[in-house]
């Protein structure tokens, strides 16, 4: 097998790992983002304080440090995560915290009249938030949230530090065996470039699909 054949096939396998990590991390981080935002805006004192603490911590910690703590430090207290799961957990916590800021801002930007109208019809808080506030807030938060997801796609490369054989990990490994950095790392770059660009285009389309006249998708 030539260099390129083995390299590209290894990269493809690495891509699958990357995509697997993202397939888990992206949706769960979005859920976490909404949960944290709702907890901060509507939760009672202890709940909203805890949520604020989580958001503050994972926005203040570099993702790389979070990953290292999850994989290397946690075993000392008896929590053993595999490289894959340490990485995915780190992604979810970090990206979820960032996303929650966008969602929280969006929730607070919804006109109070929407809440009043919902309440005047007899909706309790749960129905008001679920049916009236969140659908609007999420649309407003979409540009910020999709931005964070693209960050996540790129920062997934950090998973190599905890031993995941994703795209960058594969490239680095190959480089140590056959020192051809220009070709190897440019190719890895192209893989990420493609993913980021496709995601970006996809999100733009999603935003125009969800567009409702008068409801600004992102202000």
């Amino acid at each position: 097998m030539s260099f390129w054949e083995s390299f590209l096939s290894a990269l493809s396998e690495g891509s699958i790992i990357t995509l697997e990590m993202l397939a888990l991390a992206i949706p769960v981080s979005m859920i976490l983002g909404v949960v944290l935002a709702v907890a901060r805006v509507y939760g009672k004192k202890p709940v909203s304080a805890i949520a604020a603490g989580i958001v503050g911590t994972f926005r203040g910690l570099p993702l790389i440090v979070t990953l290292l703590i999850l994989f290397f430090a946690l075993p000392k207290v008896g929590v053993y995560l595999t490289p894959f799961w340490a990485a995915v957990t780190g992604f979810i916590l970090c990206s979820g915290a960032y996303q929650s800021e966008y969602v929280r801002g969006a929730i607070r930007s919804i006109d109070v009249g929407q809440s009043l109208a919902a309440q005047s019809l007899g909706m309790n808080r749960r129905k008001e938030v679920l049916h009236i506030i969140l659908p609007q807030a999420f649309r407003r938060a979409l540009p910020g949230v999709t931005n964070e997801i693209i960050y996540l796609i790129l920062y997934s490369s950090l998973a190599y530090v905890v031993g995941v054989s994703e795209i960058f990990g594969v490239a680095k490994h190959f480089n140590s065996l056959n020192f051809r950095p220009m070709e190897i790392f440019s190719t890895a770059a192209v893989f990420y470039l493609l993913m980021a660009t496709v995601a970006y285009a996809g999100f733009r389309r999603l935003e125009s699909r969800l567009k409702i006249p008068g409801l600004d998708v992102g202000r």
Partner: protein
């Protein structure tokens, strides 16, 4: 044992803290370079020709679509040597952080320039200012003030990205932390300590920047959310 803990605190923690100098070197150099690149790029995108815009947009797209880690390795092992530059890890990291930050900062400034509104430039030109003078004296000062919140965010991001340069061996906070972990075989305290340092630097820094923002706020100038 307590003895080990004391060693940790008195010997190793200061060593980790020493990395702050390097960290701020990276952050300062990266942000500074990013500013020097980003502002002209933003002006070029807002006021330049179609061709200029295309080239600049390509630059922005390129450096925002590739992970920092990949860029660091690509430039350190590949591009800089190929161009004949012998850069040490620190210089190379600053350069890569800077070029990359320029792409991100340009979008902050571009949004700010657009929010200032063309009325301002039109007024400047009716007074007889050339386009360049108008942009430089009227639009940019306003745009810069409006950009401060977004820029504070960029500082926070740069601070965290600086940790990634551990991959090139730059002796900043994280690299030193990893050495300590290897030396003491304790992954718990050092990483948590480093985490705490980063959190303090992140929030302390953004607080200071926001203070500056409050002091220089212009009443009536629309604030970008």
């Amino acid at each position: 044992m307590l003895g080990e803990f004391q060693t940790m605190i008195w010997e190793f923690f200061p060593y980790i803290l020493g990395g702050i100098v390097w960290t701020f070197g990276l952050v300062g150099g990266g942000l500074g370079m990013g500013f020097a690149i980003g502002l002209p790029v933003a002006a070029g995108q807002a006021y330049g020709s179609r061709a200029t815009n295309a080239i600049l947009s390509a630059y922005v797209w390129f450096f925002r679509s590739i992970p920092l880690l990949v860029l660091l390795f690509l430039f350190y092992w590949g591009i800089f040597p190929a161009l004949g530059y012998k850069l040490d890890p620190l210089a190379c990291s600053i350069a890569v952080l800077g070029i990359r930050s320029g792409a991100y900062q340009s979008q902050i400034f571009r949004g700010a320039i657009e929010s200032v509104g063309e009325g301002q430039l039109m007024a400047a030109r009716t007074l007889g200012m050339s386009k360049t003078k108008g942009i430089y004296h009227i639009v940019l000062p306003q745009a810069l003030r409006v950009s401060i919140p977004g820029w504070a965010n960029e500082y926070a991001i740069m601070l965290k990205d600086s940790a990634i340069t551990f991959a090139l061996g730059v002796l900043e906070i994280l690299t030193r932390t990893r050495y300590v972990v290897m030396a003491t075989m304790d992954p718990f305290l050092p990483y948590f300590f480093a985490g705490g340092v980063f959190i303090v630097l992140t929030y302390g820094g953004t607080k200071i920047i926001n203070l500056v923002y409050e002091k220089t706020k212009v009443p009536g100038l629309i604030r970008r959310a």
